[in-house]
Point group: C2
Chain length 341, copies 2
């Protein structure tokens, strides 16, 4: 964990630097997003802008922009494809919040709370179809294949997650399958398309894809750890304990269950499987996770995926952009320690 | 209306004949659908097959198959594109039933009733992304443009409809805009792609598109009339009066409102705008619609769109497939009179 500790001190600055380096392109991407949302049906721009401007980090479009730069792409298609990636992500968020019945996202009321589930479902569909229109405009069939496959994989991962809710027998293998599908598939596609745009070799686009998969998995592992770190609630703007309240089985709980004694097993059954939760249960859950080092072990696995992400970059010659990709992986790990995750 | 009356006697047989003429291709389309739904996440094939096999007429994929035949297409891409069109339609149905909180569709419990709204939202997303994967496989950018635009138009139409619910001031123009987007856009795309596959001229693909738009509008007009025809409930398998109960403003009510006296206006306000409905209100609504000939006027407008659909076909030389397209339009009109709509 020494590596993790050293990373956390500077990696948030790295992310800010990265945003600055891509500032012009990010502004262009935002402009494409705004143009695509112009619509005579007023609810569409209202609701979509609420979620898109709610302080998202634009991490996924940044991956597309940065991988295009890493690969020396000279055209303009990366801009609309970055917007497309953000639309797929946003559509997923809208539908996720309906499925999870979430009240808050990044400290702001969710769209389903403000406009209702019906509007969130339908505007999500609209964003999803806009994403497809944008990728069709790129005119590149390989990219269309990558992104449409990613979209199907995300949906499949979300259904698998729904099936496993409240299921105490969920193991680490299926959990990793879920997060690879629901989160890492889009990270992977976002990275890969930069290489495809630049006509890079199969080895290079595969390396970018692997970087994205590993980055996505470590990102979700950290996210699932953060849900049980109460001190992060006000910064995250997310109500800590969402996963616990929803009975969503994540790796910290899977680890804790592996070492649970009989009273703990009954605790998880009552709270997670049977959804019978009392006022102090979240604190008890956090105490049990601590007793079994479940958060630290989750973050250790995240560090493993960080190492794999860095390994995927070795194919590329040293360059400022390769360094940025390395530092981005450290940044994603450091969210567990940074006050501004 | 004489034309309508003469049409109804034979047009259902025409639809059966059409299904028989395309039987081999329809079986191939069903096989593609089944293959695409094979998935280790069991809920996906379970839920999707429930809605796909629930007795749908496969009208939209039939349009793609028939327009490919009309245009003399010799390849195989029409099969997976027909499956793609059915997936877009099915995804929309799944999300519609969530938005409308529907209990029954074609006499069968809706997926949201059996598996919950969460599963319906996510499996709908899965079908939608599978549709995009199938269209990408066709490798034809013009077809990708047509279908992705149709998907965005459908979503926009659904949002517009949601915004106008309970709104007594909705006029015929906006109503027609809604049904053109939510229903006719997919009919139009389904027809047009047959011509594009066969490399037909712009004039011909536009004619097919116009046929589809007009067919789709007349189809939805008849659907909206049927919702106030109680005798059709058991055949349709749809609970008559769904639109009324949901406060969904359709053309029969728009017509009735144009001629409403003060008590009727108050009736529509209480039942449709304020959603305060009592036991006998649906019967009262039907009686008011009858008093103002609102159903007959709706069906008369449908006949208008039927004539336009037939006009769009004139560009094509006389052939058995052109005849089938004409008779299909009569079939859609005749649903208002047939016991097997």
């Amino acid at each position: 964990m020494a590596r993790l500790a050293s990373a956390k001190t500077h990696s948030f600055d790295v992310f800010q630097k990265l945003r600055q380096a891509l500032q012009e392109e990010l502004t262009a991407v935002d402009q494409i997003i705004l143009n695509q949302l112009k619509n005579r049906v007023a609810l569409i721009p209202e609701l979509a802008q609420h979620i898109i401007s709610a302080g998202g980090k634009r991490l996924r479009p940044i991956l597309t922009l940065a991988s295009s730069r890493l690969c020396g792409y000279q055209g303009q298609h990366h801009l609309s494809l970055a917007a497309c990636v953000e639309f797929i992500h946003t559509a997923t968020l809208l539908h996720d919040d309906v499925v999870d019945n979430s009240q808050l996202r990044r400290g702001t009321s969710t769209a389903n709370t403000l406009w209702g589930n019906q509007a969130s479902v339908l505007v999500g569909d609209f964003l999803f179809s806009k994403a497809f229109q944008l990728m069709v405009e790129s005119g590149n069939l390989e990219i269309l294949h990558i992104l449409s496959t990613a979209a199907a994989t995300i949906a499949q991962g979300e259904v698998l997650q729904l099936m496993n809710i409240h299921d105490l027998s969920l193991n680490q293998t299926v959990y990793l399958e879920v997060i690879e599908a629901k989160t890492a598939a889009l990270f992977a596609a976002a990275c890969e398309i930069g290489g495809v745009l630049a006509n890079k070799s199969k080895a290079e686009t595969t390396a970018l894809r692997n970087y994205g998969i590993n980055l996505g998995i470590l990102f979700q592992l950290v996210d699932d750890a953060l849900d049980y770190l109460p001190s992060h609630s006000e910064h995250l703007g997310k109500v800590t304990g969402d996963d616990f309240r929803e009975g969503k089985m994540t790796l910290p709980v899977i680890y804790a269950l592996q070492q649970a004694d009989q009273p703990e097993r009954l605790f998880w059954k009552r709270t997670m499987a049977d959804s019978q939760q009392e006022e102090n249960d979240l604190n008890s859950a956090i105490a049990i996770l601590k007793r079994h080092d479940a958060i630290a072990k989750t973050l250790k696995l995240a560090q493993n995926y960080c190492d794999r992400a860095l390994g995927s970059l070795e194919l590329f010659p040293n360059s400022p952009w390769r360094t940025i990709f390395s530092e981005l992986a450290f940044y994603c790990i450091s969210r567990a320690n940074s006050p501004k995750n």
